[in-house]
Assembly symmetry: C2
Homo-oligomer: 198 residues x 2
């Protein structure tokens, strides 16, 4: 059985991860999207168990104590964590898994699962990122400035990712992510056994 | 200017490289297909300057003496060689280049240009390869057996390639190669400068 690809997806806040990934999942209904746990409040339209498992700080701490998380991290005052068992099961079944996670978490996943493939979603420029965060109209100027400061820090993490996907248009970004998944499935490591011992 | 990707393509004789690559070039008219020099006789339908530069052994030897070739090799009694200047020029212009070459030549290219990306085209199985070579009806049984022996040797080279593309249907193989080209264009090495110093 061919093992699935674990695709770790990070991106600047405001780069459009949510929109792009939902389109990717529409095109590739065989993918498994790993749902993270978080202590942050749901945004308008977000559903428990779909976008995140929304839990209290106490419930999150219990899961930490039980050693359930592949990784967890605090980010802008809230906790985010990834449960490992389901991911491993899907990969073993040959299913490709998408794990959306910020850069600290991505670093931990890379450490524990070196075979993971990682990509970082960016807008075409830093100026465009600032413009998009302001245009979204959901955050205060203070929050926006905090997000931009975080983005500047995260830009230093880009070099640890395998791929950088540019969200100039949603269609292009989706196309690049789909191509990365296909290409990773063609890596020789996954196919060498086909012609072993001929 | 973003540098182009050099995609080195090898494959078992009979795997369908010619058909698959011509479809890839139809879909991506911006690609440059590197035309090799050879001393072998043209097959039916092959054109000088399109499929190969067909030259005499003497002319080939002169080019060797002038140091023109990135690589050259003898294969089933004929010489094949790749001129380097044009490839470098295209890559510098940001054009992706496809270089079709057998595995000895691919090894030399990898050595001289470590940034090259390489893929090996295979049929779904070794049995299918034998069936296709017989079905083609262009070669004698002796030639087919020689090609199969070569394929067995080449199977040992598979591990040196980045990707293995399976030609089960032409459409799938073409799709995989197009995806590899897109994905390689997204590699962080090519895009890191976008967010340098923000």
């Amino acid at each position: 059985m061919k093992r699935g690809t674990l695709l770790v997806v990070s991106g600047f806040s405001g780069a459009g991860k949510g929109t792009v990934l939902s389109k990717v999942l529409e095109k590739r209904t065989d993918l498994y999207y790993s749902v993270s746990f978080t202590t942050r409040a749901p945004r308008t339209g977000e559903q428990d168990g779909v976008n995140y498992h929304f839990v209290t700080r106490e419930a999150f701490q219990e899961r930490i104590d039980r050693g359930e998380f592949l990784e967890y991290a605090e980010y802008v005052g809230n906790f985010y964590g990834t449960s490992m068992a389901v991911i491993r099961e899907k990969l073993d079944q040959g299913v490709d898994v998408i794990l959306e996670i910020e850069s600290q978490g991505a670093a931990k996943v890379r450490q524990k699962m070196p075979e993971a493939v990682s990509l970082f979603l960016v807008p075409p420029s830093f100026e465009e990122l600032s413009r998009r965060l302001h245009g979204r109209g959901t955050d205060s100027e203070e929050v926006i400035q905090r997000r931009l400061a975080t983005a500047r820090k995260e830009a230093k993490e880009l070099e640890h990712y395998d791929y950088i996907v540019i969200n100039d248009t949603i269609e292009n970004a989706v196309g690049e992510i789909l191509a990365i998944l296909v290409a990773e499935g063609c890596r020789k490591e996954r196919r060498l056994e086909l012609f072993k011992g001929v």
